[in-house]
Amino acid sequence: MTETRPQSQAETRSPVLYVVLGVVVVLVLGAATRFLEKNVPAWFEGDVAKAIEYPVYAIVLGLIGNAVLTATGWRERLEGGFRTEFFIKTGLVLLGASINLKVIVTAAGPAIIQGILLITSVFLFTWWLAGRLGLDDKLRALLSAAVSICGVSAAIAAAGAVQARKEQLAYTASLVIAFALPSIFLVPWLASVFGLTDEVAGAWIGGNIDTTAAVTAAGALVSEDALAVASIVKVTQNALIGIVVIALTAWFAFRVERTPGAKAPGVGEFWTRFPKFVLGFVAASVIATWYLGTVSSAEGKEVIAVANDLRVWFLILAFVSIGLEFKVGSLREAGWRPVAVFASAAVLNLVLALGLALLLFSGFTVT
């Protein structure tokens, strides 16, 4: 029976085929999301059906697909095709085309200040609390980077810097997604309860929610303007990964592991760790801003709308992949301490990010 074959053997036999099949699953669920988004409001009368946006359909379909594939033993074989990071980053590059370069330049200042203050305070708090609760130093580094910067991407970067174990990375990634999924719905709802402007709500979402895909989903649930600000704030945090990773590499080499003859990381290490899609996001904004200056307003809007349709497709594929990738198994194995650390840091992040968003983005407008 193929269902009982170990994962490593299955992957060795035909990894490319499984990756392609995984991508096909994501595409089919993405197409179903688009179908539901367009047709559900026509099937059901009332505001609730109209209010449900594509991130909700995509994540729910992803979770259902996850349950079905897990029950049939296919999920682990196909997970090579669930490329959340690739889909979300391509979607964010395309999102750059709908944001005027002036908005990025204007928002960059407050976004950098917010990023530095949030990352420093939340990282140090998480590191301290995890130490008090007796967690392994490498797991402390992964949890601190994940909750303070940008979730799974930061955890992967930090894992490379401190040479963490695979289980530690898988566990941290599961924690990130377990906390991010409810945040997608909770934070936009709280922003509405508090009566925040779209820009402040976007800055709160971008500063608080850990993983980039979840930030985009929550921003899209609020509005296009909130999505623009949330993306700029999150992309700025992504850009700061390199600095944190350099600090972690040096800290583990000189203080934790005391490697003899270890060299201090330099500019090359920063460039290796720098998330290159940030350059694509800015380049897309530069190209679109230049293009819109050379054609009529009507023609420009029609063309950028096509780029926006492509962007929505990539975001849908990313949200479907979030649902498909979610694992609860590794969460059960680690005990309550890492969960307590992550939850405490998430609450601090929520409160601090709200304060900084109100302080730095109250007078900011996208249009």
Partner: protein, 48 residues
């Protein structure tokens, strides 16, 4: 404790490399798609 059961697994350099290759792939594909839209190869109405 979590850290005790992780001692035999290899470290995570490979994931780190894959991650950053995806960065370049996303950048190139996103920008190529944008250029194709602007030059009219992907016209309005084509994307479902």
């Amino acid at each position: 404790m979590f850290s005790m059961k992780c001692m035999t697994e290899p470290p995570t350099r490979q994931e780190s490399r894959t991650q950053f290759n995806e960065d370049w792939a996303a950048t190139v594909i996103g920008l190529v798609l944008l250029v194709l839209v602007i030059v009219g190869v992907i016209p309005p109405g084509l994307i479902p």
